[in-house]
Amino acid sequence: MQGAFFNFSRKTIPVDWNLLITQLMNGLQLGLLLFLLASGLTLIFGIMDFINLSHGSFYMIGAYFCGTVVSVTGSLIAGIVVALICTFAIGAIVELVIARRLYRSDHLDHVLVTFGLILIFDTLVHMIWGAAGMAIPLPEILNGQLHIGTLVLPTYRLVIICSGLLVAAILFVLVTRTRLGMLIRAGASNRTMVEALGVNINKLFLIVFAIGATMSGFAGMLIAPITEASIGMGNEIIIIAFVVVIVGGIGSVKGAFFAALIIGLMDTIGRSYLDDLLKLSLSAEVAETAAPALSAMLVYILMAAVLAFRPQGLFPPAGSK
């Protein structure tokens, strides 16, 4: 199991390949989850120029709906299906009632309104489901582990990775191959023209917003069996999702995908190897306190660096200025 050695100046770290592969899978899983959140966010931001802080609320709502249905029916599939429909509907309502009126106003207004929405959603969830949070039981087969050679991976993590990749693939096909996708991209580059060519842009925006909400909700459903559904769970991750959007380039689904994977991997690898790396040059004491702080900062350092050198993000959508 102990494979090759990395040779640093004097000290060496043994590389445990099983561990490394496990960590890469973990990074992939986190990245895909971030992608589910960030792809909707980047579309809403890129096409409608709308900053939606409350995007994370759909993440929470998805998890709670799913949990409720699962606790009643006992079926995870039923929970996910019902919850997807519910988040789609709630996303559509938010667009119709609130977001729609604000597309043309200042970003500050967006921030203020959607922060208000976060408070409203959080409190409503508190009122309906209580403060305790909600566990979502997994079917027995998903609760176990998969053995591949000497590698042991939690089954459910693989499920998350597969669903994440699947949704990413569907989204990719949707955006690049379907008419809706063409319109979404066209709308991102020239909204007036799309409308002048007979497309009801309001409807298009409604659909995009609701799909974004649904994907966010789906991410919440996927993570909830691991971390459980809790109030404000979306607020914790939404800032990182925004970082993904900015690093990837606003409005770019491809950018969101790669940025999410980069950040997911970087975060996981940072958490698992940073202290060892720091110990090469610092005392164990210092490394132990510096590593967690530094790994928490990594995403922000990455974003600051990207903004300083490539202000439009890593993969800005084609044709944007």
Partner: protein, 237 residues
């Protein structure tokens, strides 16, 4: 087929149209002529509902279309080739044509002569070889062709071209005129804006000259040719 009555349009507090009056007859080519900034594009935008008119009425096929959102206006059967072409730079040529293609039901015109992807390529062969190029990789002339093709994909009964040949080399310009004459043969109504008065008077039936947001003269090509000082008076020529 299209009628403007006393249309007044504002950009914020700046008035650009001061009571436009215009009538387009079905199957005819009508032009809108005037110097820079006189309100030609604004007239088009007002018809399309892109810049909502403040006062006045606009009728299309007898239906009132002012105050409607622009997608509804387009769905009534008006195809726009806008100033500056405005093709979607991040979509391929194929996608540019398909994205907004007749996604509305105008039952009666679905039949016989309706435009589809193949017919448009046949009509504009310049595009056929470049289907997978991105919009922003096309030359100006090709972009203009694409903009026309994109508008045709809506199956319009009225085609509006704003600055139809702006910035195009003479040869391409001739090509465009030829295509437009073909379209005229199919019975399409056309509203044309361009700076090449002589070419316009060749293919158009009727002309409107506008100055500072209102029509100052209108008449047929023959009448325009007859009036000696018309051009120098209104067009600075």
């Amino acid at each position: 087929m299209l009628e403007l009555r006393g249309v007044e349009t504002f950009y914020g507090s700046i008035q650009a149209l001061f009571g436009m009056e215009m009538v387009l007859e079905a199957g005819k080519v009508t032009t809108l002529i005037g110097r820079n900034g006189m309100g030609k594009t604004t007239t088009v935008s007002s018809i399309m509902g892109i810049i909502p008119r403040e006062r006045g009425e606009i009728y299309f096929n007898g239906k009132r279309i002012d105050g409607r959102p622009s997608y509804e206006v387009a769905q009534q059967g008006i195809g726009l080739v806008p100033e500056g072409r405005q093709i979607f730079p991040n979509l391929s040529v194929r996608e540019n044509l398909l994205a907004t293609a007749a996604n509305y039901s105008n039952g009666n015109r679905e039949s016989e002569g309706s435009w589809n992807f193949e017919r448009v390529l046949e009509f504009l062969p310049a595009l056929a070889g470049r289907l997978d190029n991105m919009g922003n990789q096309l030359s100006g002339g090709e972009q203009q062709m694409l903009a026309i093709g994109r508008a045709l994909m809506l199956n319009p009964s009225l085609l509006i071209l704003d600055e139809a040949t702006e910035g195009l080399a003479p040869l391409i310009r001739q090509e465009i005129w030829a295509r437009l004459e073909q379209l005229k043969q199919t019975g399409l109504t056309i509203l044309l804006i361009d700076k090449n008065i002589d070419d316009l008077s060749r293919i158009a039936d009727k002309h409107y000259i506008i100055e500072k947001g209102r029509v100052v003269w209108h008449g047929s090509s023959a009448e325009m040719a007859a009036e000696e000082n018309l051009k120098s008076r209104y067009l600075g020529i």
